[in-house]
């Protein structure tokens, strides 16, 4: 189909009568860092949730490495309610659960951190390795997979070292400071061996210095792990500094796309963020 790592075509998500994401088409290329920005409630996380299989889109299709992974069109009750565009363009229905999407190589972090709170840092990352394990239940129960298990643990330890979490390995996840929890979420996502990493507001709640560190960190993992990064972020410093390209959503609609410079000077983006003075 195309050479993009990720491509969204006419993606629409409608909850009842509310259109959260409207006819979103975009792409992310290999090795890029692309940001999705927009005011609160613009539908950014909803877009992520569709890509990762949490929600089935109402209409539209998603391609990963040129292969269609998700496709849907309005069905049942939605046929009447549907307000988005491009209906009828996607005749086939293909829905995948989040775990299948992760297996394909798309990993994500969450806006409101979702660690396995009562488990240790080490376990949090080790769990993400389970998916790639080949051992069946019996093999795993009777420890016939000792070699694989050792490899999983070594791999986990290596990740923790790279992410500078190694000394915290036996700490309970919920006891970590906020910044480290975000880092652990990224470590956990990396442990699933993704080729595309989705970061949902990785800098939320961070101070400028932490944000600066994060900027360097994201670039570093992109290079080290040969990743493509697609992220949602509100910290404009970070976004402008790091992104190769930016997409801007407002009320579910794509209002601008381009390089940081182009987006920064786009009148519609400025209006969306600052609000248009209606009464002027």
């Amino acid at each position: 189909m195309s050479g993009h790592v990720l491509e969204l075509q006419n993606l629409t998500m409608q909850f009842g009568g509310v259109v959260a994401v409207d006819d979103l088409s975009m792409y992310v290329d290999k090795g890029e860092i692309v940001a999705l920005i927009g005011p609160n409630g613009a539908g950014k996380t909803t877009a992520f949730n569709m890509i990762t299989g949490v929600y089935a889109p109402t209409n539209g299709a998603i391609f990963f490495n040129g292969e269609q992974i998700i496709s849907n069109h309005p069905q049942g009750n939605m046929k009447k309610l549907y307000q988005g565009g491009s209906a009828g363009k996607f005749p086939n229905v293909m829905v995948k659960l989040p775990d299948v999407i992760t297996k394909l190589g798309i990993a994500r972090t969450f806006q409101n951190i979702r660690l396995f709170k009562d488990l240790t840092v080490f376990e949090n990352v080790l769990i993400a390795k389970h998916m790639r394990s080949k051992a069946g239940v019996f093999a795993a129960t009777f420890r016939l997979n000792a070699k694989e298990e050792r490899a999983m643990r070594a791999e986990t330890m290596r990740l923790l070292e790279i992410l500078e979490l190694a000394d915290l390995r036996d700490e309970t996840a919920s006891n970590l400071p906020y910044g480290k929890q975000r880092r652990l979420e990224i470590a956990r996502a990396l442990a699933t061996e993704p080729s595309l990493l989705l970061l949902d507001e990785p800098a939320a709640g961070m101070n400028p210095q932490e944000t600066a560190e994060l900027t360097a960190f994201i670039k570093q993992i992109r290079d080290d792990f040969k990743l493509t990064v697609f992220m949602i972020e509100h910290h404009m410093d970070l976004v402008m500094e790091i992104s190769d390209r930016i997409y801007v959503l407002d009320f579910g609609k794509l209002i601008a796309a381009g390089t940081p410079d182009e987006v920064q000077n786009n009148q519609r983006v400025i209006d969306a963020y600052l609000g248009v003075a209606d009464d002027a």
């Binding site: 909850f15 949730n49 949490v54 969450f110």
Partner: protein
């Protein structure tokens, strides 16, 4: 079966369903507000049965009935304060286990105090008077139950739709935390819910046991579970739903027994529950809610 027999069974079923409906409302209201299956509700209903036995031993029914209702209300509210309130912030599993614990405690307490031998339920003479309509005959309680149920439900609906307490209840059931921020005294509202639920359970208990004639410490378990199923069937949180559910289960159960499948009458209730959960998890009148990721 002749038409008369079928109608006769339906009448019994409607009467049983009325009592179920009253208990189911207690489940649906508590679940609506606390998101808790109040496993103890069936045992509150059972205890109300014993209260009636003792109240009737020393008072005429005109005094005994209000006494039983008040006693049941006090018990319901105390249970909430002691066993559920301390667990407000606890994981949901804890509070559900607490409810099971209360149920266990009430059953053991009843066994200890009143022994496991069935106790005869006192007769209220005018309730037992036999009436005839055409070829159908039944005692007054059979006719009275559905009527009383409907009246109580209308009253309750008015309370919830028109009064301030009712509005607060609706708000709390929509969003616990936000309504707290809006200045609603959560604990009072929850107590009010238990007052209503327990009062209805007491009325339901009088109607149910007058028909059944005896009480044991375990008479609350199965009716309790069935009424919870009724609440789920109607859509948890919806009062009309609970009433419809109660009637459906009451009638179905009576007909199954009449057809000779009495061992399956309990199983049927659960089958209904499972089928409902599969095809319409929100129940007949329930609202859909989605989890935010």
């Amino acid at each position: 079966m002749s038409l008369t027999t079928i109608l006769q069974h339906c009448l019994t079923g409607i009467s049983l369903g009325g009592a179920y409906a009253l208990i189911a409302i207690g489940y649906t209201m508590v679940y609506g507000i606390l998101r808790l299956i109040n496993f103890a509700h069936g045992d509150i209903f059972m205890m109300a049965g014993y209260f009636m036995i003792f109240a009737m031993a020393s008072f005429p029914w005109q005094v005994a009935i209000p006494l039983v209702i008040v006693g049941t209300i006090v018990m319901g509210v105390v249970i909430e304060r002691v066993a559920y309130k301390p667990l407000r912030t606890a994981p949901r599993m804890s509070i559900m286990i607490s409810a099971i614990g209360v149920s266990y405690l009430l059953q053991n307490l009843a066994t200890y105090l009143f022994t496991a031998i069935p106790r005869g339920y006192p007769e209220i003479p005018f309730l037992k008077k036999i009436f005839h309509i055409g070829a159908l005959s039944a005692s007054l309680v059979t006719f009275l139950t559905p009527v009383l149920t409907i009246l109580l439900v209308i009253f309750l609906m008015l309370l919830i739709k028109k009064t301030k307490v009712g509005m607060a209840m609706r708000a709390v059931s929509k969003d616990f935390e936000t309504s707290q921020l809006m200045g609603i005294k959560i604990n009072n509202i929850i107590s009010a819910t238990f007052v209503i639920g327990s009062a209805l359970a007491a009325v339901g208990s009088i109607l149910y046991f007058t028909d059944r004639m005896s009480v044991t410490p375990f008479s609350g378990t199965l009716p309790g579970l069935k009424c919870f199923v009724a609440a789920v069937f109607g859509g948890i949180g919806s009062i009309p739903g609970a009433v419809v559910g109660g009637f459906v289960i009451g009638i179905a159960e009576t007909l199954l027994v009449a057809m000779g499948y009495s061992t399956f009458s309990d199983a049927f209730t659960f089958l209904l529950l499972i089928v409902m959960l599969l095809f319409r998890p929100t129940g007949l009148f329930g609202e859909k809610s989605t989890d935010k990721v």
